[in-house]
């Protein structure tokens, strides 16, 4: 999977087939069949513990860090089975970037944060300073952070506000040219203004990236996604264009959840 754009073989960025997952003896996902379209924002909603974060974390195989996790079924990213034996984990992670609930910039300078992944995946000779400058500027401009930080690129990433930190965490994924961005409640640690800014950014990134976003915030799912998946107790209940799901949910459980009858 060296040149992703050339090897795309389907319209779906992510496809799962009977994906089940166990933490020890606890089954967290039951036969999840999903097709997530390329280049749009898909939100995952559902009450706490319904498996939406677990599902998200399977897509870049970060779940495996826990030794007691067992997975069955298939997950295909851009038409390639990511659990196939010859798959290189590092290449999966390069294609599938992840943003966490709490912004987690590294305790190094803003510039080095952006260049971190770039440096890791850079095969050739060390890029020149001009190249690096360009990479940093591009990434920070894409996440609408450049103007705020361009005069303090040497400052620590951790010295930024939470909103800026979260944007930085998105920015550092971009230089390695991922195709899928996974976001696990990216705004839940932010204040309303920060939430709005980050949502706006995510909206701008669609098209270029396939974005899957887990959220507890129903309004956010409705405003900021094009398709919506509702999960309950480890199963997918409904997968519809967002507007349809919120206006005319097909399943009673979806309707109950959206109207706040349980949460």
């Amino acid at each position: 999977m060296d040149s992703p754009a050339a090897t795309v073989t389907s319209d779906f960025a992510i496809q799962t087939d009977k994906l089940s997952l166990w933490y020890g003896s606890f089954q967290a996902l039951f036969d999840v069949d999903l097709q997530i379209k390329q280049g749009i924002i898909t939100s995952l909603i559902g009450p706490s513990g319904c498996g939406k974060s677990t599902f998200l974390r399977s897509i870049n195989r970060i779940n495996e860090r826990l030794g007691y996790v067992r997975t069955t079924g298939r997950i295909e990213v851009l038409g390639h089975d990511i659990y196939a034996p010859d798959v290189e984990l590092v290449q999966v992670r390069k294609q599938v970037g992840m943003v966490f609930q709490r912004p987690n910039p590294l305790p190094i300078s803003i510039r080095d944060n952006v260049l971190f992944g770039y440096g890791i995946h850079n095969k050739g000779p060390k890029p020149s300073k001009e190249d690096q400058d360009r990479v940093v500027e591009d990434a920070l401009k894409t996440v609408l952070l450049w103007d705020q930080v361009k005069d303090r690129l040497r400052h620590k990433g951790t010295s930024l506000s939470l909103e800026e930190q979260q944007k930085l965490c998105i920015a550092r994924l971009l230089p390695v040219k991922p195709t899928v961005l996974l976001m696990d409640e990216p705004c839940s640690a932010l204040d309303p203004k920060g939430t709005e800014a980050v949502e706006e950014l995510i909206w701008q990134l669609r098209g270029e990236y396939t974005i899957v976003i887990v959220t507890h915030n129903m309004a956010q799912a409705r405003r900021a996604s094009e398709e919506c998946i509702f999960m309950l107790l480890g199963e997918v209940i409904e997968h519809e264009p967002t507007e349809d799901m919120f206006v005319t949910p097909k399943q009673q459980q979806t309707a109950d959840y959206i109207e706040g009858r349980y949460g």
Binding site: G97, P105, I108, G117, H121
Partner: protein, 289 residues
Amino acid sequence: MFESTSLNERNRKKQSLVKIFFLMMTVLLILPVMIILGVLIYKGGPVLSFEFLFEMPTKNGAAGGILPALVGTVWLVTVALIASVPLGVAAALYLSEYAPDNWFTRAINLAIINLAGVPSIVHALFGVGAFVLFFEFGTSILAASLTLAVMTLPVVIVATRESLQAVPQSFREACWNMGATRWQTIRRVVLPNSVSGILTGVILEVSRTAGETAPIMFTGAAAILPFLPESVYDQTMAMSLHLFVVSTQVPNMPEGIPYGVALVLIGMVLTMNAVSIGFRTWLRGRKKW
């Protein structure tokens, strides 16, 4: 409505009594240190001179200087550090960053704790058996330093492991999610953020290594040896053993000399600590290496 009652009064008295009690306990803790330092400076201070530090001992240490012991201790500590720090840090890295949580890892952890609890005289005998006799290093700096290294290894491992585990998990996750391998994560994020904690462990080790007597008595340190060691295969004098010798083994010892030796030993340890702390502060300031 808000006047104090007799109950408030009683509680207040109790409160101040408790505070005074804890304060006294704390003072009691500092007291021995102050007394030790005071007596050493008072009695050993007059002995100190350029000659005392930089001349060979004569009359079994009753006259002359302590240069070979000073140099010997520096040798012992340095060689012990060279042996134990890389080994200890590597072991801690494995245990903290790579090892799965299974019976084998738990057994290793248990072994480390037990190793830390072994009395130093037992380490000394192990050193004789292993390094002096089996590996045929003879009684030498090498054998003594390796014995010291084995003894202090648990300190390095535990201190390193703790400072590694103090690095937030979110830093590691951030790296892994960008496709960094474990080693890249360790090298670029985990180590730079834990190096000051690791150095604290090393500082502790330095102090202990410089002061230990039992492990080196049989493995490489000699009582009186009025010349400087030239390689790790030589025997050497050492400050700790020299202190023991001049305090108990030599008749007609002038009273000031043992105090002088003790003062220099403490001074050495404090100096080494100060240098390491300075280095640590400097590294912390850079935070990038």
